[in-house]
């Protein structure tokens, strides 16, 4: 399998937080959702992948090139959107095109204009007059207009209404039609990832908990609702995490097929990205 992004054993230590041997690989033609609670290390990982912070250890390969030795080449071929608009308030989208046109070799002014029209952004309107959603859309238009092969998005859909989010998700799906393209998207809006992600990587307290295909997760994991007294009867090897509530408890099951054959009387619900995230973040181990 050819990878568009390959991060291996990335480490970065701060006084009160550390990324601990973070590894992930995004295959070409795929969208990877990067999930985790606030402060889990998603943004720090993305920053380390872009050399915005200095890594203590580990390697980053993007499009087959090492980040340290081919940083400029890589950045010509990736589009990045952060969780905030980094364009100056007094500028207009037309100014942004002139600026980035002088920075990116492949900048396509017409494609940028097409995105502006599609997003309903006035070319001559000052950015200070834009809403947060409009600013995010501008960032996405700017990230796509130099025809990148890889998109790295850090909470890029936050602050957008569901209609615009859907519109943008369609653009991401359209982008991924080219099998040489890939997207790494960190998001709190797990329903978006349920719609578009092929792979999911979950980070918790600076460590990768899993990085697997979303279908594999959905096919294998399940949720069982039972009484707390039933929990003791479930094999430890079957339980990933459990959560108790006033009605009993919910259990995240590792292999739902094997579980169903061993405990045919128990009802199994399907998992969602959000439920998996909640079990890992707030649930307990048996």
């Amino acid at each position: 399998m050819e990878y568009a992004i390959k991060v291996t054993n990335l480490c970065k230590a701060y006084q009160d937080f550390a990324l601990d041997n973070v590894s992930l690989a995004v295959p070409k033609g795929c969208i990877m959702g990067f999930i985790g609670e606030n402060g889990a290390g998603k943004s720090t990982t993305i920053k380390a992948m872009l050399n915005l912070v200095h890594r203590d250890a580990g390697t980053v390969e993007i499009l087959g090139m090492d980040l340290n030795s081919h940083e400029k080449k890589i950045k010509e071929r990736i589009g990045v959107v952060f969780d905030e608009c980094c364009f100056h308030d007094n500028l207009t989208p037309a100014d942004i095109s002139k600026i980035l046109g002088k920075i990116y070799q492949n900048w396509d002014g017409k494609l940028y204009q097409k995105y502006l029209t599609q997003f309903g952004l006035g070319e001559k309107k000052k950015i200070k007059e834009f809403s947060r959603g409009m600013k995010m859309k501008l960032g996405i238009a700017a990230a796509l207009a130099h025809k990148p092969d890889v998109l790295i998005l850090d909470e890029a859909t936050s602050g957008l209404d569901p209609i615009v989010r859907e519109e943008i998700l369609d653009i991401f799906l359209d982008f991924i039609q080219d099998e040489n393209h890939a997207i790494l998207i960190s998001s709190h809006i797990t329903s978006d990832l349920d719609k578009i992600a092929d792979y999911l990587t979950f980070i918790h307290h600076g460590k990768i908990v899993f990085s697997v295909s979303r279908d594999e997760l959905m096919d294998s994991m399940g949720i069982v609702k039972c009484g707390t007294e039933d929990l003791a009867g479930i094999g430890k090897d079957q339980v990933i995490r459990y959560r108790t509530n006033q009605f009993g408890c919910e259990v995240l099951i590792r292999d739902k097929k094997s579980f169903a054959s061993r405990y045919p009387g128990m009802v199994m619900d399907p998992v969602t990205t959000e439920s998996i995230m909640l079990f890992y973040s707030r649930g307990e181990e048996l």
Binding site: K47, L50, N51, L52, V53, H54, E71, K72, K73, K75, E76, I78, V80, F82, E84, C85, C86, F87, H88, D89, N90, L91, D95, K98, I99, L100, G101, K102, I103, Y104, Q105
Partner: protein, 214 residues
């Protein structure tokens, strides 16, 4: 022109209008009185402070984080700041030279410095001072940010005043005076110091910026 510099100039375009108005006001008030000094000082401060003004804009929107994700090296980002300073100082120098030349033609013998200096030497001296000020400001801004740099500049500005006053008080009782050097020598020495200052400052700024995390 590179995109980063173009972005800075676009951002400064609205500020520049106000700077021109302030400068015209100073010209109208001081030049007819034969006192061109405030105009030169103002021009040089504007020129030297341009990168600091740009830094304020960039910090507000966290542009540096975005710039680090673009296909530009950190060295290029720093070099753009120095280019901006050099452009600012060049514009300040050209305007100073025009004002000084006009004063020597229209008000011959007038002027704080023009009575003893020709316009070109005067401009070179002021430019050298401006470049030195800018060279001090830039690495400080990159290291500590604008807020802290402002206070540091005030402290640095006070040093020469204190030294000169201190020396004067020390020399006066002993009957000694400051050695008077030829003005051309002072201009040459200042220019040499300014060039060295810019080079050292640039290298220092690159080292500071390389270590930055966004």
């Amino acid at each position: 022109m590179n995109g980063l510099l173009y972005k800075d100039l676009l951002n400064l375009s609205s500020t520049t209008k106000y700077l021109v108005l302030v400068m015209l006001f100073f010209c109208v008030i001081f030049v007819p009185q034969g006192n061109e000094l405030p105009v030169y000082i103002l021009l040089i401060i504007f020129g030297a402070m341009l990168p600091m003004t740009v830094n304020t804009y960039d910090t507000t929107v966290r542009w540096d984080k975005y710039a680090a994700s673009l296909p530009v090296t950190r060295k290029e980002i720093v070099w753009t700041r120095y280019q901006l300073m050099l452009i600012g100082m060049s514009v300040a120098g050209i305007i100073s030279l025009i004002i000084a030349t006009m004063m020597t033609v229209l008000l011959p013998g007038e002027g704080v410095f023009l009575s003893v200096l020709d316009p070109l030497t005067l401009t070179v001296m002021f430019l050298a001072c401006g470049l030195l000020v800018g060279s001090v400001i830039l690495p400080l801004t990159l290291k500590f940010g604008n807020e802290v740099t402002r206070y540091i500049i005030i402290m640095i500005a006070l040093v020469p005043v204190v030294v000169i006053l201190g020396l004067t008080f020390l020399l006066l009782p002993s009957g000694l005076t400051f050695p008077i050097l030829p003005l051309s020598m002072i201009a040459g020495a200042l220019t040499a110091v300014a060039v060295i200052g810019v080079v050292v400052s640039y290298r220092l700024s690159v080292r500071i910026y390389m270590k930055k995390e966004f």
